[in-house]
Every structure is written in structure tokens, then in C-alpha cells.
């Protein structure tokens, strides 16, 4: 009898074990992804939640206990391939999934740093990434892990084995397309943007079935181009030639190279669109919709709900891809479903996410030359016409460049790709900003498939001797800057904030730093050995709070940074994942 009881107990415990085992093996569901912002045991989405607030409710680490945060292990990406590491890790079921430069993906045991598998994508020789061979992260859903590659493909792998399940072409890399953003998964669809804004491509948002990779819908970002739904033409974007002359909309740019965010409350995708092509704005009179905009898109069919254009008729490469972060704006006793966007053009926008109406816009850098401000009623910039680079000379003197102007921010932006964070407890945005300007002039240009389509020359300059980077706490209610941290080199990494009153970000000088979220006081730092230009994450495992970040200097600054590139040329490259924890007392 005793033996029978123990056998039964064993059977029961085995059943329980296999039930939890099955859950982990099945992987995260759509619902898990939608609720990922409050899941402190995992990091399931790029942005630490579909709204991309990069906020963790964890409180073990705080401005005091952070002093005890120590490294647990470091993992090298290996090989001869270094360059910029801009990824945000994904953490699930004791495994960290992290992408590296040159289209590589790793699965690493979160507790030990032991490599489970590695996938190296074989890139053709002719890829044309404009701004370094980076990747910003993977997406997880059910039994698969996904990432996009520099030859504009989307690869789905079994997350346990690293074996490729499918590999779909997103676009033709020979025409200048590439892909560096983390995919977004909503209701079983995997949604991607595209890169290649410097080559006259057409910006595109696409949804595919996450199981099969088959295309569901496509939405071009430039007016006049046809979208598709379930393999058939759907609707034309905007109204043909309403804001573009002639055929220029066919090579109009507007790349969605940073991917998008999703708001489960209004069931809306938000994708930022890049600069119009070519850079020379005199060739394309009009607003050039929907370049340098935020598009609100229905995830079911790819239809545009609303748009907000931050830089109409852009002439400075004020690419508007910057992430749109949904948040609840508490103002005058009301709660408004709003979104925040720190634009490359230097203004911080607060927009009603139900309808795209501007609520507030204020500078988050010290110097903006191209506009005097943003008209809150019309939502349009009040331009400084003198600060638009002049048209190139025509006729006999065809090679002559147009009038050069000094403009701030520089084309690398008051804020570039690096994602900001929003803390609902301090009600502040934490924006990684840069203070720089540029001399910019226009040159004659014609479009050639697969060739750079700029029509402009430029050189970037710091505005101040002592710093370029500035991490700024922005109050979305007032537009005021509550605190700032100045960094000598330009900031190029993402930001994380926590309920423990902390803000984390990395520096090109190699540090991962933590700040008091209310005061901005630096409370912790760790030297990772190379520049930090990735996005940190935090989660709880075995009762301890962990922090992870990738280290490896690179990105657009050393390639396009002009005078600034000189300042950072002595930073050594790298390629590693660092994991820290707050040990149990």
C-alpha cells in the first residue's frame, strides 16, 4: 500500500513537471507579448512592452542598493566581426537571445553565460547598410525567435535549437534596402519596417504571418504608392501628387528603419518614417508626405489611421523615425491617451494618440536653427527660411554647390535611433540627446538605382567643447527639462528606467551608468571595455534582479560624424553581452 502511494505521488509530480515544461516549450503567446510591460520575470519585447516605455516595475534595485550591482558574466560575440552592437536582449525561460553586428543571433544561458547556439547569417558581398552593420534586436513568439538581416531578409529560427524555420526576403538589398530594426509581433503577425533611406527606396511597413512568413499586408509610406492586403492591391497611400511633384514619389524615401511600437489600448501601430529622398529639398517642393512623420496604422489591414508630420519638406535629414511611446498624460485633472516623440529635429512632441493632434512641442536641445518653434494650433513648424540650405546652381555652373548654412541639430539628430524611456512614477521621459550642428549644402543629383541619393554635402560639428551627449529628463506636461547629465562623447545607446527610481544608459566611453530618476545624480557605473550603444534591460530570476546590456562601439557616429568622429576614434571596438545582478543579501 505504501508503495502504491509513493508511485501515485511520483506520477503526480511528473505530470506537474511536464505541464510546466510544456508551457515553457510552447513559448510566449500573443497575450504574453501584449502584457510584457508588467512581466518582471522576462523581457519579451523590444521596448520592454509593446508601448516601448522601457520601464520595469522592479524595485529591488534602487538609487541606494544599486551600489551593490555586480557583473555575473560576460559573453563574447566572437569572430573577427566587431563594429557597433546596438541590440536590446530578449530574456525568456532562463535564456537570453541577443543579436550582434553582421546579422548574428545568439542564445545564451541567462544564469551561466554558456552559449546554447549561434546563428551567423551569410551576407552577400554587396550589402549597403548606410550606418554600420548593426542590429537592434530579436522578437520572440511561441517556439520561434526572429530577426532581420542586413541583406533585407527576415529569419525565423527554432528558439531551442537555433535551426532556421524560414527565411523570407523583405526587399532587394541591391537596390539599397537593408534591415536593422527589431521586428514587432502583434496578434500573430510579425511587423517590420525597412532601411535604405539614403538610396531613394520607398519606406514600407509590412505584416507577415508569424508562423509561415507569408505576407499579409504592405503599407508604403509615400503618398501615391499602392498598398496590398492578402495578396491583392488595397489602397493608395495618401493622394497621388498632393505633396510630391511628378514621379518623385516613386523614389521618395520615408524608410521605416527603426521599426515600430504598438498600443494595445487603441489597437494602433506607430511607425516613424525617415527623411525624404533626395536630401536636396529644392528638387521636391511640397510637404513630401508621409516622410519625417509618425504614422498610426491599423494592425489588421495596414490602413493609416492618422499621421503627424514633424518636419514637412525636410531639407536637413531630420528623419522622423524616432519611436512614438504611448503613455497616459495626466494634465489638468484629466488623463489623455498620449504619445511622446523626441524627434531628430530637436523638438519633443506630445501627441494625442487617438487622433494625432499635437498637444505640446518643446525643444529638448539647446540650439534649434531651422525653426522658431512649432505652432500648437496647426501642428506645423515655424521655419527659419534662411536656414534651409540653398538650391545648387543650374545651367552652365551646374556643378556648383548651393549656399551652405550652419544648422542645428545636425543630421545625426538631436536624438537618433537610441530609444528613450518613460517612467510612469516620475512621469518623466528620459531622452538620450546630442548637441551638435552641421554645415550643409546641396549639390546636383539624379536618381540611380542602388546608388546613394543625397544631393547634399555636410560636415558635423560639436556645439560645445565639454560635451555632446546629454541625457535629459523631460516633463511631457510642460516640456521643461527637469535634469540633465552631460557626456563628453555623443550618446548612442538606449535608456531603461525602473520603479526603483533609476535610469540606466550606456556611454561610448564604455560605461553602463545608473542615475537617480528624480534628481539625475549618477549613482553607479561599470566599465564594459568598449563603447555601450545598445539598450539595457532588467528582469528578475531566482529571486534576484538582473541587468543586461551589450557592449561594442560603432554605429553611425564613427562613419558620419565629421569632426566628432575624430573625438571618438580612439574608442576600441568590442562585441559582448554583460550581465549584472543584485545578489541576495
Amino acid at each position: 500500500m505504501k508503495r502504491l502511494v509513493s508511485t501515485l505521488a511520483l506520477t503526480a509530480s511528473l505530470a506537474a513537471f511536464s505541464a510546466t515544461g510544456a508551457l515553457a516549450a510552447d513559448g510566449p503567446t500573443s497575450d504574453d507579448l501584449l502584457k510584457s510591460a508588467t512581466n518582471t520575470e522576462a523581457v519579451l519585447t523590444y521596448g520592454m512592452g509593446p508601448q516601448a516605455q522601457r520601464f520595469s516595475p522592479l524595485t529591488d534595485l534602487n538609487a541606494d542598493s544599486v551600489k551593490k550591482l555586480v557583473p555575473v558574466w560576460s559573453f563574447s560575440f566572437g569572430g573577427e566581426k566587431q563594429r557597433g552592437q546596438e541590440a536590446q536582449p530578449i530574456v525568456y525561460d532562463g535564456t537570453i537571445y541577443v543579436t550582434g553586428s553582421y546579422s548574428r543571433l545568439y542564445a545564451v544561458d541567462a544564469r551561466t553565460g554558456h552559449k546554447k547556439w549561434e546563428y551567423n547569417h551569410r551576407l552577400p558581398d554587396g550589402i549597403m547598410p548606410c550606418c554600420d552593420v548593426v542590429n537592434r534586436g530579436a522578437a520572440i513568439y511561441k517556439d520561434k525567435i526572429y530577426f532581420s538581416t542586413l541583406d533585407a531578409r527576415l529569419v525565423a529560427l527554432n528558439r531551442e535549437t537555433g535551426k532556421v524555420v524560414w527565411n523570407k526576403k523583405l526587399a532587394e538589398y541591391k537596390e539599397g534596402y537593408s534591415n536593422t530594426a527589431a521586428p514587432l509581433i502583434v496578434d500573430g503577425k510579425i511587423i517590420t519596417g525597412n532601411s535604405g533611406g539614403e538610396f531613394g527606396v520607398i519606406g514600407m511597413v509590412e505584416a507577415r504571418d508569424a508562423e509561415t512568413g507569408e505576407l499579409v499586408w504592405q503599407r508604403p509610406t509615400i503618398e501615391g504608392n499602392m498598398g496590398t492586403l492578402n495578396g491583392k492591391d488595397s489602397t493608395v497611400t495618401g493622394k497621388t501628387n498632393a505633396s510630391w511633384p511628378g514621379d518623385m514619389y516613386k523614389t521618395g524615401g520615408g524608410a521605416t528603419w527603426l521599426g515600430g511600437t504598438y498600443d494595445p489600448e487603441t489597437k494602433t501601430l506607430f511607425f516613424g518614417t525617415g527623411n525624404p529622398a533626395p536630401w536636396n529639398s529644392h528638387l521636391r517642393p511640397g510637404d513630401n508626405l508621409y516622410t519625417s512623420s509618425t504614422l498610426a496604422i491599423n494592425p489588421d489591414n495596414g490602413e493609416i489611421k492618422w499621421h503627424y508630420q514633424t518636419t514637412p519638406h525636410d531639407g536637413w535629414d531630420f528623419d522622423g523615425v524616432n519611436e512614438f511611446v504611448s503613455f497616459d498624460l495626466k494634465k489638468d485633472g484629466k488623463v489623455i491617451k498620449a504619445g511622446g516623440k523626441a524627434d531628430r529635429n530637436g523638438f519633443f512632441y506630445v501627441i494625442d494618440r487617438n487622433n494625432g493632434k499635437l498637444i505640446n512641442a518643446s525643444p529638448f536641445v539647446t540650439k534649434i536653427t531651422w525653426a522658431k518653434g512649432i505652432d500648437i494650433e496647426t501642428g506645423r513648424p515655424i521655419y527659419n527660411d534662411d536656414n534651409r540650405p540653398g538650391a545648387p546652381a543650374t545651367g552652365e555652373a551646374h556643378d556648383a554647390k548651393g549656399k551652405s548654412v550652419f544648422s542645428a541639430p545636425a543630421f545625426l539628430g538631436a536624438k537618433n535611433w537610441m530609444p528613450m524611456a518613460y517612467n510612469p512614477q516620475t512621469e518623466l521621459f528620459y531622452v538620450p540627446a546630442n548637441e551638435w550642428g552641421m554645415d550643409i549644402w546641396n549639390e546636383p543629383i539624379t536618381y540611380k538605382k542602388g546608388a546613394a541619393y543625397l544631393g547634399a554635402g555636410f560636415t558635423i560639428k560639436p556645439l560645445y567643447d565639454d560635451y555632446i551627449g546629454a541625457l535629459r529628463a523631460v516633463d511631457p506636461k510642460t516640456g521643461k527639462i527637469v535634469w540633465e547629465y552631460k557626456n563628453p562623447a555623443p550618446l548612442w545607446g538606449g535608456v531603461l528606467t525602473t520603479a526603483g527610481n533609476l535610469v540606466f544608459t550606456g556611454t561610448p566611453e564604455g560605461y553602463l551608468k545608473a542615475f537617480d530618476a528624480k534628481s539625475g545624480q549618477e549613482v553607479w557605473k561599470f566599465q564594459t571595455g568598449s563603447g555601450v550603444v545598445g539598450s539595457p534591460v532588467t528582469w528578475k530570476m531566482d529571486g534576484e534582479q538582473y541587468v543586461a546590456v551589450v557592449s561594442g562601439w560603432g554605429g553611425a557616429v564613427p562613419l558620419w560624424g565629421g569632426d566628432v568622429a575624430k573625438l571618438v576614434k580612439d574608442i576600441n571596438q568590442g562585441g559582448s553581452l554583460w550581465v549584472f545582478k543584485l545578489p541576495k543579501a
Binding site: P124, D125, D151
Partner: protein, 289 residues
Amino acid sequence: MSNSVIRFRSALCRGGVLLLATAAPAVAGDGPADPLGSVMWEALRDQYFAGAPVVFDGRVKVMAPTSAEDTRAVPLSVDATALDRVVELVAIADLNPFPLVLRYHPGTASPYIATRIKIQQATAVRGAARTADGVWHVSGVLVDAAGGGCSAPPASYAQKDWADHVGEVQARLWPAGDEGTARLRLRIRHPNDTGLVDGIPAYFIETLSVSAQTAGGSPELARIDSLEPVSENPVFSLDVRPPPDATALILRGRDNQGGEIRATIPMPPPDARPAMSLKAMDPLRSVGQ
């Protein structure tokens, strides 16, 4: 010299048959000694034939050159048509960094496959056929070679546009001859890269499946699980049995990066003649006897 080798082989052949007859459920760790004297034999046997009975059997004919002219593309054929009911063929190059070359599931096809492989250094090259009773019948030859076939970068990378042609297929099907099988030859453009060259990821064909297009469906005729040692731009010769109502053969495959291979191979024209036989003319070259 030659005569003594033949006698040696003959003795082994008898030993193998004896083993099959009397000690069929042989376990890993013991079994007949390797007639090729390869230092890797016992390890490879345990890895690839784990626990299954293994015999050296001259009825499996392995053809490869005595000395490899180009270590990146050494011709190799494995012919087990002398055996009944073969369900799987494998090819192994003992001293390669990846010894397993391919697994061939002949299905309704004849148990014969020919291809080209990379050889890293002088090595025993083997063919093994698993019959329906679970016994592996092994044979092989020694191939002398200068080093480096597996760790040299594919020659196609010298051309800037190599990526444009990956997955292209050249194929030809001949009508069935006296033996009732139709020769199918496939050539696929692919770097088939081992990943052993610094900074270049592994990139090779993993699966190839041949099926027949018929009004009633598309039954699979044969399948190859191909691995790193198969040469760049691999060539395969198979002897398939298309059903009489087949209108074409379909080749479907993919590489380890999810790259897809698709080709439709037309049936031979009415006046075409069967392919010349490529079968071993000198079976004594194959040492399994």
C-alpha cells in the same frame, strides 16, 4: 603486392558474412576490425551506427580516386545495388573535420548515389548501406590527398555576384534503361561552405527531395540529407524510378540558412536514350570485402 591485398580483402569478406550469420545483434564497441586500418573507425562506427550490427561487405561498391586531384571536389560513388532492400546509404570521410558527408534515403530509387566531396587530408572514404533488417554493410577506399579541401574558401566567392546564383539548378533526366531505373543528374549552385574559414559562416545545402509530378499527387522518390563535406556547387547522380504517369520531377531543397531550392525537371524527350552506366567497372578497388 596487389595480389596479397586482394587475398586480405577476401578473408575479411568471409569474416563479415560470418558475423552477419552468427552474431547479427552485434553491439557497439566490438565487431570486425577495419580493413582500411583507419584510426577513426571505432569512434565513427559508434557515432553513426550506434549499436546497430555492422559488417564489412564488398557488395557495397565505393568508387573514388586513389589520389585526389582537387581536394575540394573528389568524385565519390556508393553503389549498394547488389544488396536487397536498402533503406539508407551514408558516405563518410574518416579524417574530415565533419566526417559524415551525406545520408541518402533512396525510397523507390536504386541504392546508388554519386557526388563530389571535399577531403581535408588523405583518408578512408566509406559507403555504408543499411538494409531493412537493420544491418549496416560497410565498404570503402583510401584516397590520398594534399590537405585543405574543407577549410579553403569556396572558389565562387571570387566572383562578386556569387549570391545572385545561389540555388540555381541544372538537371537532366534520362529514360529508364535495362535496369529499370532512370538516371537523374542534379547540379546546384551553392557555396556549400563548411564555416571553417575565419569570418565566413557555415552555409550549405541540408536537404534535397525529388518527387514526381503526377495527376494523383507528388510522391517522393528519394531524399538526400546533405552536409558540409559535399563539394561547392554540388553534383548528384541518382537512379530513380518515376511512376509511368509522371509529367515531370520536382526538386525541393533548402540550405542551413533557410534558403530554398526549387526546380522542375522535365521528363526526357521521346527519342532520348538511357544514360551510360557509371557503375564501378573494377569492384576490387573498393575495400570492404
